[in-house]
Each structure stands twice: as C-alpha cells, then as structure tokens.
Amino acid sequence: MEKKFDKKKILDLLLNNAMYIIIALLVVYVAIKRPKFLGIASIINIISLTASKLPMALGIAGCIVLAGTDISAGKIVGLNACITASLLTTVYKIWPNMTAPFPIPVVLLIVLCVGGLIGLFNGFCVAQFDLHPYIVTLSTQLIIYGIILIYMMLGTNNGMALSGMTEEYKQLITGPLFNIGTVRVPRYVFYALCFVGLMWVIWNKTTFGKNMFAVGSNKVAAEVSGVNVKKTIMMVFTLAGMMYAITGFIDAARVGSANATTGLNYESDAISACVIGGVSFVGGTGKISGVIIGVLLLQVIFAGLNFLSVNANLIYIVKGLIILIACAIDMRKYLTKK
C-alpha cells in the first residue's frame, strides 16, 4: 500500500519535470559525444542566441498570460528587421532618394511605433470584437507578410535581401560587451538583460501587470472587479508588438542582413519557450524567470542537436514535439486530479 503510493508520487514527479529531464539527458549525451559542447565558445553562443530571442518571448508571454497567443509575432519581427536594414544602410536600395543613413534613435523610434501600432491593432481586434487572438493574429500575420513583400519591392531593391548596414549600427548591436578569452560577448546580451528587468517591473510592480494576470485568469471577474479589460488587452498586445520590433531591430544587425523570410517561425520558438518555462495557456500564470529558463532551455536543445549534426529538417519535427510535450505536461497541473 505504502509502496504503491510512493511509486505514484515518483511517477508524478518524473512526468511533471519530464521536459527538464529530457533536456538534462540530452546535455549529458551531447557533452559525452562532443565535449566541446560545454566549452566557453559554445556556452557563449547559447547565451547570445538566448539573448536574441528573449525580448520577443517576453512580449509573446504577455499574450499567453491573457490566455491568448500571437502568431503574427515572427512577421512583426521580420517587418521591423527589414525597415531597420533599409534605413541604417549605406546602400539606398529601398529609398533611392536617401542621401545618408537615418540616425539610429530615429530608426529605433520608427520601429517601436510600427511594432506598437501593429500590436495595438491586434489588441484592438481581440478586445473590441471579442475575437480569439489566434484568429486575429492569423489574419494580421498574412497582412504583415504582404506589407513586407511590397516594402521589399520598393525603390530599386526588387525583393532582394538587404545588407550593407552601417558600421555604427552593427557595432551598437553586435560589438563586444566584453571578451572571455578570445570569445566575444555581444552587446545585445546586455540589452536583453535590460528588457528582462523592464518586463519584470511591468509584470510585478505595476497595476497594468496585475490587471493583465487578472484578465488572463478570469475576464468577466476582472471586468466586475473594475479592471479596464479592453484597455489591458490592447496594452499587452501593444507592448508585445514593441518587443517584437526590438527583436527585429537587433536581428538585422545580428544576422547581418534582412529579407522577406526574416523572422519566419520565430513565434513558434517563442511560444514553445514560454510553455516550457511555465507560462501556461490556461491563462493568468507565468513568471519572467520562467520565460528566461524556457528560452535558454530551447536554445540548449537546438545547440545540442546542431552539435550532433542532426538534419535541419528533423529539427522542425523536434520543435513540434517539444511544444506538444510541454503543453501536455503543463495541462496536467491544471486538470482536476481524481
């Protein structure tokens, strides 16, 4: 009797932490097969990749806290990466009349506005028409994709990838924050940390943050309790849009070019990261620390698979399975135990 009970407890523990166990096993396996996986260069690489994905995941996490989602995120990143690449460049393909690159702060402001406005539009549709965010962002991602394609055809660009960004901009993003041995830690790692801090304050220290969790947990109760539900939803999506814009702004320099497929499928990585990190689709739960852990673990998995030279096509299958498993494990916690 007693033994049986313990067995059940252990099984529960294993299942609830299955994702972490799988990842730990993977790390051990990769480290044995390819010892360089745990070398400085590899670790810095994982940290840098994590940093590059963090702002976006932090944005999308808010949408998931609302018991929603945002599948337009990757396209918003892409659009803003293209805008950034076209304005902070020395080859004026999109805007042939430009005589000099735009000042960096102006471009930053532009992308923040573009991202924010698209987010606001998403949020407006969700709040005002009471549509599920999935439907709204499914539509807007198509619209944004169309806009990206049109934008890339402007001037003399003819849809080509944009590159030749200014040194000043590239330095600002990818220049060394500091070096560990010969390995460079890029500046955007520091920026990501700043955004983590900012989002932590917003989530935990503002009425808006508390309202966001309340709306995600029970919309009707939030309304009755005096929360401005529509405004909260619109603000969450606007904030998310701005975070995607920043991701795009960083990504153009990080990758060194931008084209119509920049940001493709980014949202699926960001969503899986959130779910792995405990930002539940049930709504109303999640922590900033969870988002960080989620993004980090996901990058560890990808890096591990890369080290093992796993076929890139296979990685898609792995990603899909990760989302499924993570969601299933998460749901276990919210099912009524019988």
């Binding site: 503002t206 009425t207 943050g209 508390k210 947990s217 109760a221 309790s225 005096g226 739960t285």
Partner: protein, 499 residues
C-alpha cells in the same frame, strides 16, 4: 420503518496526501426513504459520494447494493446499476436540446438502420416527463431554459435509467421556493415508488421537511444517523459543528440613518427589468426577494453598470451618478459581490493576495510602483478581519473552500472602501459556520453607516438580517415590506404579482 436496505456503505476510508478525507464512514439508505446527508463544507459528503460513484477509489470499506457488494468503475457504471446523481453544477450539453441530453450515450436507434431515431427519443422523453409531471418541451435547447428546468431534465434522466438510488447534491441552491416545491413533489413521488434518495443540502428547514432519516458527518467522520421526525434544527447544527449556535442570525444592532441611495425608474436594455424605483438609507440592510428570473440579479447588475441600462437615474447622497461600468461604480463607492462565484468572482489560478487587491491596486502604489509590503498588509488585514482560513497569502484561491473564497472576494470589495455594497446571494454554497460570519459582517458594515443590499433566494435569511425587503416580480418592483412585520406568505404573494 421496516423498509428493506437498498444501499449500505461500511467502514469507508479515503486519504489524500496530508488529509484523511473519510475515516470509517457508514451510510445506510432504505428503499422508499429520503436520506439526508449533512455536514459543513469539507465534512466529507462529496468525497463519500465520489467514492460511491467510483470517481474516487476508496482506500478501505465496502459498498453493498441490494445486499451485493459493488465497486463501480465510474459514474456510468453506477448509472447502469441504478445509482444516479443529480449534480449541484449541472454537466449538460447546453447547445443541444433536452432529449439529446436525456439519451446521450444511449440514443435509441431506428429498427433496421444504424441511425438515431428522433421519434423514439421524443416519445420516450415525453413518457418520463408525464410520469414525473414535468412540463418541458423535449425539443427545447438546454441553454434557453432556466436552471430549475435543466435540473428537472437531469432528474428525468436519472429516472429513465430506472435508478433505485438517486443522489441530489444541493439541488435547491439555485431554485426559488416555487421551484423547490415542484422538486419536492418529484422527490416524494420517487420515494413513493420505492427509490432510495440521498439528499445533500445545507438548508435545515428543507432537510427536516423532506427527509425521513438524516446522517450527519463532521471532519470526515461519521457522527450519527437520526430519525428526522425526532430531531430539531438546533440538534442537527450541534452535531454538525460540534458546538452550539444559539441564534442562526446574529442580533441586529444597526441604526438607520439618512438617505444614501436613490434609484429612479431604472429599466434595462436587454432584460425585462423595468421601471424600478427605491431608496436606501445609511446603515441599512436592504433585502431583495423574488423568484428566479424576477430581475433581482439584473437590478444589481444595472446599478453596478455590468448590464446595459435603458433608462433611469441613480443618486448617491443627492448627486446623480451614471455608473456606466464597474470602474465608475467603484469610484462612486459601490461594490458588487456576484452570484456566480466561480464564473465571475474568483481568479482561480491567482493567489489570495492577487484576488484580494485587484480592485484597489492604486492604493498600494509607491512612486508609481506597487509596494509589496502594502499589498501583503492589505491582504493580511482581510484574512484577519474575516477569519479567512488559508495556508498563506500565496495560496491559489481555487484550493480554498467556497466560504473562504467568498471571504477573499468580500475582502477585495472592502479594500475599495465602498459605501454601498451590492451582495448577490452572498451565502450560496457556504456552510453554516461561514454563513453566520457573513451575516455578522453584513451587520457590521451596516453599523459603520454603509448601505448593504442583499439579494437572496432564502427567505429566512432575508427576514433574519434585513431591515426592509424589496420584492421583485417579473422584472418589476412588486412591493416593499418591513422585515420585522412581514411573513413569508406576504413576500411570496408579492413575488407572484407580475408572474
């Protein structure tokens, strides 16, 4: 009574991690009797029933049905053996019609074809309805019917399985008195045909009226089984709580002051609430009575700005207020405890602190940012003042009992410093001890000069704590009575005025 024993549960024990939910409990139900099962929330009534239906697996003990030992896999298994349950919260396919719900999982088929026979379904449904004297069209969509009728369908379904044991879990918690009468007639007819009824309820007067025997549980233990004819309400309460409650209602000490709230010709856009006018005074407990669907809830929702107003004016202290939405109403000093705690009250996954402070967040700002210390002080104040039982402020509210959840939501509203409290069924689904505490709180608030408006389906409750009672009927105000000099008959007569 020499009726044969239908169901016997012996030495039932069930543990959950850290709690012994049931400890050597027994229950014997005889054919042709109504057996009441009583106990405070958390006493183990529901757990015992879940063990019967195989929803939980009992750790120890045996269950005998007609002398044969049974161990049901799940509620479907139980149903097929003639043991049915009418749940407190109805699990029905609301978008489907009555007969679809009745025959779900066992649709009658056409003679030779593998298709569902709508004709048979209709006829069989009508047969059961006629038998039970239920007046419902089998083709009505469930969501278009009031809760009471949906419950009737659930009962009919149980009967259609030829159930010998039927469990009613708080069947009257959302019914009005007329509907309760109908329910009792049905229960009595089931008893007369030899069924064993297990009746779970918190309402003493109902228990004494309808039941033949009563089994009392406390803290997961079996306390006693008594003949209902030879037991009084006070004795039951004593057995249930293990202490004596001298009054069911606390003494009224509030004094009525000057006029605080005036509502003039209030009509709703999307419900039948029309032309309601009344005044409320400082320090008053104002009751709102009426049948289900009489517009009681709609009245509160319209005042608080949850529902759309068509016309009418609201004055607080002589000044007109619009109360367009809850935010504005809260600013104007209103607070509203909604009827459906789970659907519109609690933030289930959030903790006690988040649930307590959500409506008053601005109070805890320090240079624009929320101050953790202020948040936890406010929450603790609520826990201490209302004696909320919770392991900590960080406990998710969904893991608390109904009464404690209600206290947290009351805390949420008290923290907004309201002057007018609108309470819709404040004691629904709450055990006796917690109910008394809620009554004390209502009177305490009135003593502080606040106006407390209480909607309730339980007339003794209104008579026990209110000063005046407004009676709603068919969306209109049918009358106003003085709680001290009225009778339940007078209120019922008014409630039926515009039906």
């Amino acid at each position: 009574m020499s009726n044969e024993v239908l169901l016997r549960m012996e030495h039932i024990s069930k543990s959950f991690p850290g709690v012994k939910a049931l400890d050597d409990v027994e229950l014997t139900v005889k054919a042709g009797t109504v057996h009441a099962l009583m106990g405070e929330n958390g006493a183990g009534k529901s757990t015992l029933m879940k063990c019967l239906f195989g929803i939980y697996h009992k750790d120890e003990g045996q269950i005998f049905l007609n002398g044969q030992e049974v161990d049901f896999k799940d509620s479907k298994d139980a149903l097929e053996h003639g043991v049915a349950m009418v749940h407190q919260e109805l699990n029905q396919a609301l978008k489907r019609n009555v007969m679809d719900n009745m025959w779900l999982g066992r649709f009658p088929m056409m003679d030779k074809l593998p298709f569902v026979s709508e004709k048979q379904m209709y006829e069989k449904t009508m047969e059961v309805f006629k038998d039970l004297n239920i007046d419902v069209n089998p083709k009505t969509i469930m969501s278009e019917m009031p809760v009471s009728q949906r419950q009737m369908v659930e009962i009919a379904k149980a009967v259609s399985y030829n159930s010998k044991i039927i469990v009613f879990d708080e069947p009257t918690s959302s019914l009005t008195e007329v509907e309760v009468e109908h329910l009792f007639r049905i229960i009595n007819s089931l008893r007369d045909r030899g069924c064993g009824i297990i009746y779970i309820s918190h309402k003493m007067d109902e228990i004494l009226r309808i039941s033949d025997e009563v089994t009392i549980m406390r803290d997961g233990k079996y306390i006693a089984t008594k003949d209902s004819k030879n037991i009084t309400m006070n004795e039951i309460i004593k057995l249930m709580v293990g202490r004596e409650i001298t009054n069911v209602y606390p003494p009224k000490t509030n004094t009525i002051g000057e006029k605080l709230l005036e509502v003039k010709n209030l009509s709703a856009e999307y419900s039948k609430l029309s032309d309601v006018s009344f005044v409320g005074y400082k320090g008053e407990v104002l009751g709102v009575a009426g049948l289900d669907g009489s517009g009681r809830t709609e009245l509160l929702e319209n005042i608080f700005g949850i529902a759309t107003r068509k016309s009418g004016e609201i004055y607080v202290d002589g000044k007109q207020v619009t109360n367009k939405n809850p935010r504005e109403s809260i600013k104007n000093g209103f607070a509203m405890l909604t009827e459906e705690r789970r659907a519109t009250g609690i933030f289930g996954v959030r903790d006690i602190q988040a649930n307590s402070t959500i409506s008053s967040l601005k109070k805890y700002l320090n240079h624009g940012f929320l101050d953790n210390k202020k948040l936890s002080e406010a929450t603790q104040w609520g826990i201490d003042t209302l004696k909320t039982k919770t392991p900590s402020q960080k406990t998710p509210i969904r893991s608390l009992s109904g009464g404690n959840q209600q206290k947290v939501i009351v805390t949420r509203w008290l923290l907004t410093d309201p002057t007018i409290l609108l309470l819709d069924e404040p004691t629904r689904g709450i055990d006796v001890g917690a109910k008394y505490e809620i009554y004390e709180l209502i009177l305490k608030l009135a003593n502080e000069g606040k106006l407390v408006i209480v909607v309730s389906s339980e007339m003794p409750e209104l008579l026990g704590i209110c000063d005046r009672i407004l009676v709603m009927s068919g969306g209109r105000l049918a009358g106003e009575v003085d709680a001290k000099n009225t009778t339940q008959e007078e209120i019922m007569t008014l409630a039926a005025k515009y039906v």
